[in-house]
């Protein structure tokens, strides 16, 4: 335990020494994210009914070194897995003898801007569907292949590859489809419900204390426009439902299953909270 607290307080002390007491304030940086020369929207006017005036990408809350990693796709370690996703796109699997490319052709064209509009309403299952589940649906229905289990097989790589084709496109989901509005309502309720032994809701950190330091971590708005995101802590791509579960675990609550109704509702609501921000997949975070 001593070791752990030493590691965590070390950087904070260094920061405080370097920047004086002002370091405690820790505002998001005033900087523009440009990925390979393409400018990203990392600050956008919030949609109507949003608690903030401005929505901000988590990129603005990270250190200069982490921000630089995302600005160059050659250096971004998440791109290795995106490349893997590209290989899966062209791999034939299942009884129908098809790959993703057999139907969808070149992802750069067919998947352009697609990821920015998910989750979408899926009338077949009567619930919202995200990219992961859309891929599974395609695998089962059209390819005759086994659906991926959560975070297994090529799920993260392929999801990141599809979403990467929307790099720079502003996030925008259609709440008018099917019962999306009901799921949004449910997601909002979950967002503000305190859970766990620590009695925290999503809003406790990402709304009420956004911009403050939680020990050595700079609290962002908790946007998901960069998912699957490369987290330096794990050294690999992390899916949005994994991150949701991680946050819920940290409040010491029971974790809902990935793709459960709770987490799908939360994904609908949290995606909406980032309306207008560029898709940054694969983002790089702490």
């Amino acid at each position: 335990m001593n070791n752990i607290s030493l590691f965590i307080t070390g950087p904070v002390i260094a920061l405080a020494l370097a920047a004086g007491i002002a370091a405690v304030k820790a505002d998001p940086v005033d900087d523009t994210l440009t990925i390979d020369g393409k400018e990203m929207i990392s600050r956008a006017k919030a949609p109507e009914g949003h608690p903030f005036d401005e929505v901000m990408s988590g990129w603005l809350f990270r250190t200069a070194e982490t921000r630089a990693l995302e600005a160059d796709t050659f250096v971004n370690p998440g791109m290795l897995e995106v490349e893997e996703g590209g290989a899966i796109w062209n791999t034939v699997e299942g009884t129908a003898g098809k790959s993703c490319a057999s139907c969808h052709g070149d992802a750069a064209e067919s998947m352009k801007d697609v990821g920015a509009n998910y989750p979408k309403w899926d009338s077949d299952s009567g619930r919202p569907i995200n990219i992961e589940l859309q891929i599974n649906k395609c695998r089962e229905k059209n390819m005759g292949a086994e659906p991926y289990a959560f975070d297994k097989g090529g799920q993260k790589a392929l999801t990141a590859y599809v979403k990467h084709q929307s790099l720079g496109t502003p996030v925008s989901i259609d709440l008018g489809q099917g019962e999306m509005q009901n799921w949004w309502d449910r997601g909002k309720e979950l967002y503000y419900t305190r859970t766990g032994q620590l009695n925290l809701s999503c809003a406790s950190c990402h709304e009420a204390n956004m911009g403050k330091m939680i020990r050595a971590d700079h609290l962002s708005q908790g946007q998901i426009n960069g998912f699957p995101t490369y987290r330096l802590k794990q050294g690999k791509l992390i899916s949005v439902h994994n991150r949701f579960r991680g946050c819920i675990r940290d409040t010491r609550a029971e974790m809902p299953k990935a793709f459960s109704d709770e987490l799908m509702a939360l994904e609908v609501y949290v995606t909406w909270r980032g309306t207008g921000l560029s898709v940054e997949t694969p983002a790089v975070r702490q």
């Binding site: 050659f74 250096v75 370690p77 290795l80």
Partner: protein, 108 residues
């Protein structure tokens, strides 16, 4: 990561005597040899232990890598280019495999 694949970023052209930045990245697990598997048996070390870059046969940059280097080693260095030529890059794996890449640069 199943297969190690090297990637290199070198400018296509430069002025004579210009100092350019070279970026290299190779996908590799860099298994340190310090870890144990589920049954407690040590996982054998398998890392990239050496990297070298030459320009028209002349050494430019070379280094040895140790187990503390993280997965997918990224190396960035600069070089002065006197004339057009070819950069050759080699990565040497613990198992004896050698991964290679090369890039030509044109000096105007």
């Amino acid at each position: 990561m199943a297969k190690s694949k090297p990637r290199v970023k070198v400018p296509k052209s430069a002025a004579a005597g210009e100092v350019i930045t070279i970026k290299t990245l190779i996908s590799h697990d860099m298994e340190s040899g310090q870890r144990k598997d589920k049954d407690g048996n040590p996982i054998p070390r398998k890392i990239i232990n050496k990297f070298a870059c030459t320009f028209n046969g002349e050494p430019v940059f070379e280094c040895e890598l140790d187990p503390a280097i993280s997965a997918n080693p990224y190396l960035e260095f600069s070089a002065k280019v006197p004339q057009s030529g070819t950069f050759k890059f080699t990565w040497v794996d613990d198992d004896g495999s050698v991964y290679e890449a090369e890039n030509t640069i044109e000096v105007q």
